[in-house]
């Protein structure tokens, strides 16, 4: 097991290098300069000043040297300083924003699992019933709906018109004055819409997947055998079939991480949440290279780790792999 883990972790390194080289290349080869140095039209800034700034940020060196310098610093977990006016360290900026994104996405995943798995099972067990048909329609709409549009409509309906839910940010303006539990409740209220919107696409996909997985398993030989041996139907469904149908879900969850991280740009922009997606968007618009690279690396690491955890849990949950590989 440890051997496998090490092998996988080492295998991540070339992937990460590849991802960073591609991102670095695209960023620096694109025309235009970061805001700090792109001031040719500012009469107060002479061309010598610009040259000095470029040298200060290392932008005057050849590309491969810049990448090498960046990589060397990365090896010591130094992501460099942001180009923005505050000039803070990239790691600080990301550390401050990461929890919001992680929380929203983890809650979204939780919602996806808790809702999609029962729906999928119920649809499979009562195949072609009205419930199954209704759920199929829901799934197709969930796949097709532009999430920000739905978010916008919900904001107007539940937020502005009915005033049931807050529509932006994480806290109410008088958050400081609230007691501890009030604060948690407030936070929860602010998270309901963003989490629902993040979850909608995955919810549709996962319930569909669960349904077909369950259908496959129900028709498997060992289920027929169990039925022939007189095992109770409930026991067949929830003890034998469910366990095996759940396995592929683990992998799917791992694969859905890049989508969730990518989608967080839209959700955070829509609900003005101070998360990593919004930070990335602002950094891209201002060409804040160190921040863009930092988030790319963190995003890729999160994705790779997510896939690894998914594979490990898969191995742990599937006795064939657990005992077979040794």
């Amino acid at each position: 097991m440890i051997h496998y883990l090490l092998k996988r972790l080492v295998g991540m390194i070339p992937l990460l290098l590849g991802i960073t080289i591609v991102s670095f290349g695209i960023m620096h080869l694109a025309p235009g300069e970061p805001a700090v140095t792109g001031q040719e039209f500012n009469p107060k800034v002479s061309s010598q000043d610009i040259e000095r700034l470029r040298a200060y940020y290392g932008l005057d060196k050849p590309l491969h040297e810049q990448y090498w310098d960046w990589l060397k610093r990365l090896a010591t977990l130094d992501f460099g300083q942001s180009f923005s006016a505050d000039g803070r360290s990239v790691l600080d900026k990301i550390a401050e924003r990461l929890p919001v994104t992680l929380w929203v996405n983890m809650l979204a995943m939780l919602v996806i699992i808790c809702v999609a798995v029962p729906i999928g099972i119920a649809s499979a067990v009562r195949r072609d019933s009205w419930f199954d048909k209704g759920m199929t329609i829901f799934v197709f709409i969930g796949f097709a709906i532009p999430s920000f549009w739905l978010g916008l409509l919900l904001m107007i309906a539940l937020g502005s018109n009915l005033q049931w839910l807050p529509i932006s940010g994480l806290h109410d303006y008088n958050w400081q004055q609230m007691g501890f539990w009030e604060q948690q409740l407030d936070l929860l209220k602010h998270l309901i819409l963003p989490v629902s919107i993040s979850a909608i696409g995955g919810l549709a996909g996962m319930s569909r997947f669960m349904r077909s997985g369950m259908l496959d398993v129900i028709h498997a030989d060992y289920i027929t055998t169990a039925r022939a041996m007189g095992v109770a139907e409930g026991s067949i469904r929830y003890r034998l079939a469910l366990k095996n149908a759940l396995l592929p879900i683990i992998t799917l969850l791992g694969l859905s991480i890049p989508g969730l991280i990518g989608g967080s740009v839209i959700v955070e922009q829509l609900f003005s949440l101070p998360g990593m997606g919004l930070l990335f968007f602002d950094a891209v618009m201002a060409r804040d290279y160190p921040v863009v690279m930092g988030i790319t690396v963190i995003g890729a690491v999160l994705t790779l780790l997510g896939n690894l955890i998914a594979d490990l849990s898969y191995a742990w949950a599937d006795p064939r792999i657990r005992h077979g590989a040794g």
Partner: protein, 287 residues
């Protein structure tokens, strides 16, 4: 493939049989045809010039004169949506064309050659799959410029992985079938073999993922528009009409509502059609 070609010369009686047998796919095919026709014939269908500004009818609610209302410049939203359909669908088609081209080539080579070539190509595929691709699309569009060509190309460049994996898997499974070995024994060249014998046999799943891919690309373009990086106004796309209505949504819901519905219905249509085709091609379901 023959079944598919028959779809195009179906009579009314065949239509009813089709609709009965797979109602969801029929609805999907219907939506796709209607939207495509509306887009193609936009100049003849549109009641107004999509760019015509008319200050007398600013933010008018839907009425018989303006089916979907008007926007802040008094432009007719229905007309803009018809022209927007051309742009949004064009983005979908071209992006999918690009991703098919890349995916087909990489997948075919990997599946046919096997061994080390296969390993390298699949590693590359894994790498791109680990990319939060929306970040990449965002970065590239922001650094270059949000022109329609850039958007098509970058969506295409970041969505070929599914097709590559699929083609590879199909080719791997076909590779050792008897008819392929027979052709090999007769000295058929590799390229001809892939083109003539392997590809037609893998066409079903490829078509399915192309149809689903169009739906995906339309959604990505609308997401980019939401961030201000989609097709740029005044060229109308469903995404950017929707976003232009965002600021006035509380007094003029129709500006955002109808383009959103158009995206929803179109993507739904393509997905229904794609899933229907998937069932059609799936040998497991042919009982």
């Amino acid at each position: 493939m023959h079944g598919l070609i028959r779809v195009f010369d179906m009579g009314p009686a065949d239509m009813i049989i089709f609709a009965r047998r797979s109602p969801l796919m029929f609805i999907g095919a219907l939506i796709v045809s209607i939207v495509t026709l509306l887009a193609l014939f936009a100049p003849w269908v549109a009641p107004y010039d999509p760019a015509e500004i008319n200050v007398k009818v600013i933010l008018m609610p839907p009425s018989l004169e303006h089916l979907c209302g008007t926007d802040t410049l008094g432009r007719d939203i229905f007309s803009r949506m018809l022209y927007g359909a051309r742009i949004s669908l064009a983005v979908g088609f071209v992006a999918v064309g690009i991703s098919m081209l890349i995916g087909l080539m990489l997948g075919a080579v990997a599946g046919f050659a096997g061994g080390r070539t296969d390993g390298v190509i699949m590693r590359l595929t894994d790498m791109v799959l680990c990319f939060p691709t929306f970040f990449l699309i965002l970065a590239v569009i922001a650094f270059l410029e949000p022109s329609i060509w850039n958007i098509m190309i970058i969506i295409g460049l970041t969505s070929w992985m599914g097709i590559a994996r699929l083609v590879r898997a199909e080719f791997l499974s076909l590779r050792h079938r008897e008819f392929v070995m027979a052709a090999e024994g007769l000295g058929v060249s590799s390229v001809r073999m892939m083109w003539r014998y392997l590809l037609p046999n893998a066409m079903g799943p490829i078509l399915v993922s192309a149809v689903l891919g169009i739906a995906g690309a339309v959604l990505v373009e609308s997401g980019l528009s939401f961030l201000g990086l989609g097709v740029q106004p005044p060229t109308p796309s469903w995404g950017n009409i929707l976003i232009e209505g965002k600021d006035n949504i509380e007094i003029a819901w129709w500006v955002s509502m109808f383009p959103g519905l158009a995206i929803l219905i179109t993507v739904l249509g393509y997905n229904l059609l794609g899933e229907g085709l998937r069932d059609y091609f799936d040998p497991k379901l042919k009982r």
